[in-house]
Amino acid sequence: MTAQIVVKNLHKYFGKLEVLKGIDIEINKGEVICVIGPSGSGKSTFLRCLNRLEEPTDGEIVVDGETITAPGTDINKIRRHIGMVFQQFNLFPHLSAKQNIMMAPLELKIKNKKEAEEKALELLDRVGLSEKADVMPRQLSGGQQQRVAIARALAMEPDIMLFDEPTSALDPEMVGEVLAVMKELASMGMTMVVVTHEMGFARDAADRVIFMDEGIIMEEAVPEEMFTNPKNPRTSEFLNKVLTT
């Protein structure tokens, strides 16, 4: 079986600063990967390289058999198959929840208005916000906005979903509702790469957990092993810190 995402020797510099120092990983279809690690470890940069929101300085990324780092790749076309959800919810402030979800499929002429609307309502139902279809983002809570953001990414019917600390900007009482939506997504077989500080989520939902530090993958293991028996001393140090606080 060939992997859905293959990353080979990925390097990223910001000026002279080397943020990613050679990442190699293969992610299979339907796999849920949680990326953990201290801030500044390069987790978010790694994630953003996967749809080239950051241009890799060196290395190769292959998604569904296509080398997306090759020159001349139509990156917009590839991005349409890779949904992404951010820490800040980033909804369009001038569009209602439903319109936010309908926007990309309509603009890119993937769906007509009726289809896009049906899909939007279906997705809103899935994230538990059917009654908020016509509400503007400012009138939604953080957790609700993030769920709309997930629905917006799903409206493009992506094969892969990337999550960049999706619960970090939320009030604690709203984290659960967002994680629940993500868990449901994972159980439906979506390929997911999740940068997160929610160790509980990583333990429950991940197939593999990756610990990143100083721009490299320090350790990678199934959650059981990562959380109970980490091999790398840096991993145990990090886990001790986050799990005791």
């Binding site: 917009n76 992404m84 800040q88 980033n90 402030p93 001038h94």
Partner: protein, 254 residues
């Protein structure tokens, strides 16, 4: 919403009454023909508006709208460009800072020599005075767009023109409208000045001409017309804001 509206109406009414009382007090205390009573003026205004005043006012408003329109479109486009491209920013921003504080109103004679005596120099004068505000507003609006928001639009696979339409323009629109509101006062003042030269139709010309002919009643009618026109344009800008920036309004009511 209904309560808000009627509240606004009473507020407007209240300010009208306040102005009228102030005007009347001025009239009886100063005791000069230069300040006719509100009553006389309004009667005169109603009398001369259809035949005379409306022509002058129409000509002036046409110039103001054209100048505002040109400034908004051109100024915003330059501003968006400077906001997006660091290269354009390093070229244009210093130029804007250098030219903006120059009292360009003094250039009217030059504009009239270059572009003749018609509408063009008047409109151009307003444009070169107010366009800078729009450029700066648009530039700052673009720069304030959070990086993450740009990421998320990109991650949806949207193309460049779609990004402008759904990310950039909504981000600068509220700023542009505020700027339009602020620039309106400047635009009308500049126009009033410009219309004093080689003009046959224009409210500025009308007012100064009535003054020269010691026809204070009509002069004041002209001032009243200009004030009302300013007020109406203000309302129009509010209306446009309500339509195109609905989401900002909704946020404010929260």
């Amino acid at each position: 919403m209904k309560i808000m509206k009627s509240f606004k109406l009473t507020k407007t009414l209240y300010s009208f009454i306040f102005v009228l009382i102030f005007w009347y007090l001025l009239h009886i205390s100063v005791k000069t023909a230069a300040i006719p009573s509100p009553y006389e003026t309004i009667v005169n205004f109603v009398e001369i508006f259809p035949q005379k005043l409306s022509l002058h006012l129409g000509a002036s408003m046409g110039r103001v709208f054209l100048a505002l329109g040109i400034s908004i479109v051109l100024g915003s486009m330059i501003g968006i460009w400077t906001g997006i491209s660091p290269k354009a920013d390093s070229m244009i921003s210093p130029l804007v800072y250098l030219l903006y504080p120059i009292p360009k109103i003094a250039f009217l004679p030059i504009l009239m020599i270059l572009f003749g005596l018609g509408d063009l120099p008047k409109i151009l004068l307003i444009v070169i005075i107010i366009i800078f505000q729009f450029t700066m507003a648009a530039r700052d609006g673009v720069k304030e767009i959070p990086r993450e928001l740009t990421y998320s639009v990109k991650s949806l696979g949207l193309t460049k023109p779609q990004m402008y339409l759904h990310l950039v323009i909504p981000a600068i629109l509220p700023k542009i409208i505020t700027t339009a509101r602020i620039s309106l006062g400047a635009a009308v003042s500049v126009l009033f000045f410009a219309e004093n030269f080689a003009t046959t139709y224009g409210i500025g010309y009308f007012i100064m001409n009535q003054w020269a002919m010691v026809n204070y009643k009509e002069m004041f009618s002209g001032i009243l017309a200009l004030s009302l026109a300013g007020f109406v344009i203000f309302l129009i800008i509010d209306l446009i804001e309500n339509i195109v920036c609905k989401w900002v309004q909704q946020g404010r009511q929260e």
